[in-house]
Symmetry: C2
Subunit: 292 residues, 2 copies
């Protein structure tokens, strides 16, 4: 059996009993590489699971799936991924490959940011499509995310924005010289994300995003408890002015709040607000939310 | 500490290690009542967790939260819910109440249908807002879900439709006589859901839903393995013609497929299709999806 197992969002204790049992009976256990960057150290996972883990880069999972799937028709093999196997990063390719090889597959689900974003207090029913925001460069500023946010906003819906992470990047020099030396992983910070959003708004000028009157909620390590989880709410401008420490460890996500905002959502998220008074005031005056 | 713990979607083995540890150290453990109807028997959960469970109806959770929260500032109390605490049914009320009582609270996340729906092969990025479909009666046919599906469809997005469940209903006679005798729980079947969708389409006539050319995917017990999980794909008409057994145990969900359909989504979900040839043919000719 080929198991593809979601590890959840925070640390080694977020695996399910079903997932842990599958790991323990597998002859080989692969760990999708950036999982360890994002959550906890590989050796901490290994000691908790009682199993040696084989690191597999994202591109290994995509291009060398036959090695991962080897003998999985005769023994148990597991692939561990952060969040849920069908979360932000999907694993349909390797499952389709397993199917073609007639290898039985079982997916073990877990929380992902796509549902745990509810921890912000914003109702999942009020979310439209999710978008990804990639690092802009001087010459490449893909902005299709803006159209998606506008589509959601026009319907009054919230948008979950997933912030980019770069792993295994090579410097131009190392790339030119063919040296497989990689830069340290980079992840997009909340202030950087806000800056990119506002940059595109200033070009498009549809009024979808306004630094001072668009509310947003930033999240990281959801479910990790007070020592890890960070949820910060405020206007785009307020969020861009916070110190990086405020947002905790990567990965970060950002929710752009839609106009179909319910007073309970306002009240719940107020606890996370940079400036509670301003949060309520904008929810009331700009979003038209009736509050006590 | 007050813990609110998601149990995931299928059975007792879907709890996380973090969740199980919290259960084991709690002095009282409440089980949101319909959880046991939906997943497994209460005694099976009790024997697995090694703890006695106190059943709490949904309305008890909402109206008698102070009893559930009693002493949770001094000892550990857990409330177990199906899926994720912020899934389809939210638990913001009781968390707000805990906050007001200055009781520390921790949410332990898990998979919910809001993210596990990715098991259909449809990409979570391509979903718009989620809707609920309630049982129609002769005189009450709330149809706002139709506007939401149309909003999504107009953007080419998929819609997750959550099908109604009725628990603790009283017959008119028992209600009139004040007898607290409840009917067995009812849950909406996939054919019934399709029938309600088509009924509203026949009134609204916007062409959003077409029995023969709108594709959909039905799901139940996602993640429960081959013995429990059911995923069935087809046109609305095909889905309405299947035998009830085909859809497995409740709760059921249905995805209305949007036009922004990717060929990988078609290929993945084809495995679940009632009629694979028709599935591909409609994806190609009606949805405009280029297939091999």
């Amino acid at each position: 059996m080929f198991y593809i197992i979601g590890l959840g969002l925070s640390d080694e204790q977020d695996v399910t009993i079903r997932g842990l049992n599958a790991i323990k009976k597998s002859t080989r256990v692969y760990l999708e590489a950036y999982t360890s960057i994002l959550m906890v150290e590989k050796d901490r996972l290994e000691s908790f699971y009682g199993r040696e883990l084989i690191l597999a880069d994202r591109d290994v999972v995509e291009t060398q799936s036959d090695e991962i799937l080897r003998d999985a028709d005769k023994e148990d093999v597991s692939l561990l991924v952060v969040g849920d196997p069908f979360g932000a990063t999907t694993h349909t390719d390797i499952i389709l490959r397993a199917r073609a090889l007639k290898i039985p597959t079982r997916v073990i689900h877990n929380a992902s940011i796509m549902n745990a974003v509810g921890a912000s207090g914003l109702q999942l029913y009020n979310f439209g499509q999710t978008v990804s925001l990639v690092f802009f460069t001087e010459t490449w500023k893909p902005d299709s995310f803006y159209d998606r946010i506008k589509e959601n906003a026009d319907l009054g819906l919230h948008t979950l924005v997933l912030l980019d992470i770069k792993v295994k990047e090579q410097s131009e020099e190392n790339l030119a010289r063919g040296r497989k030396i990689y830069e340290p992983p980079r992840y997009m910070s909340v202030p950087q994300a806000v800056s990119q959003l506002i940059e595109i708004e200033s070009i498009r000028k549809t009024g979808t995003l306004n630094p001072d009157t668009t509310l947003a909620v930033a999240l990281s390590r959801v479910g990790g408890g007070d020592e890890n989880q960070r949820i910060v709410a405020g206007t785009l401008s307020e969020l861009s002015q916070q110190q990086p420490e405020m947002y905790g460890e990567p990965l970060h996500s950002l929710v752009i709040v839609g106009k179909r905002l319910h007073h309970l959502e306002v009240e719940y998220a107020e606890d996370f607000a940079v400036d509670k008074e301003n949060w309520r005031s904008i929810a009331n005056k700009v979003y038209g939310c009736a509050l006590d």
